[in-house]
Amino acid sequence: MKQVWKIGSIFTAVVVAWISLLLAKDLPPSVQLIVPYIPMFAIMSLGCYGLGALGYGMMVFRVCPEEEILLQKDIAEAKAFFKERGVDMSAD
């Protein structure tokens, strides 16, 4: 199933569940106060999750400064190899 249909059907199912909750007659009054706020709560949760995932990703972002040094060594090694064989590698 295409991604858009997958998400669309989940979205429709959730909306239908929400509407049936809205129309239900015998819910305790506090819960009845919460139901209309559910869509905005869902949007806020998604937003906070996205920002949080971004922040977390930034925190654990892996950096490897040592790789630059290793790469320079490899480049020097390669240049020496080619010099031996008469292939001129001009400066980077």
Binding site: I34, Y37, F41, M59, V60
Partner: protein
Amino acid sequence: MELGDKAAGCLLLLFSTTLFAYYTFWVIITPFVDSDHFVHSYFPAREYAIIIPGIALVALVSFVLVFVGFVMVRSSQAKAKSKPKTN
């Protein structure tokens, strides 16, 4: 340099967690609390739980649409400029 980047990420994570916790309390917990409890003084009227994020959402969507539109117009202008030159 990386420490600054990690700190920025940590700040963002803390901000989003706090925001989520505050909003959840506001929307889901306060209806269960007696109306003369002191905790209600920390939250504005519940209608604002829809109005404020609603306005923010509209502003965000507008910004994204304007940004995308601006970039697309600019790139089609650049294409129009380069076409007469090559013709």
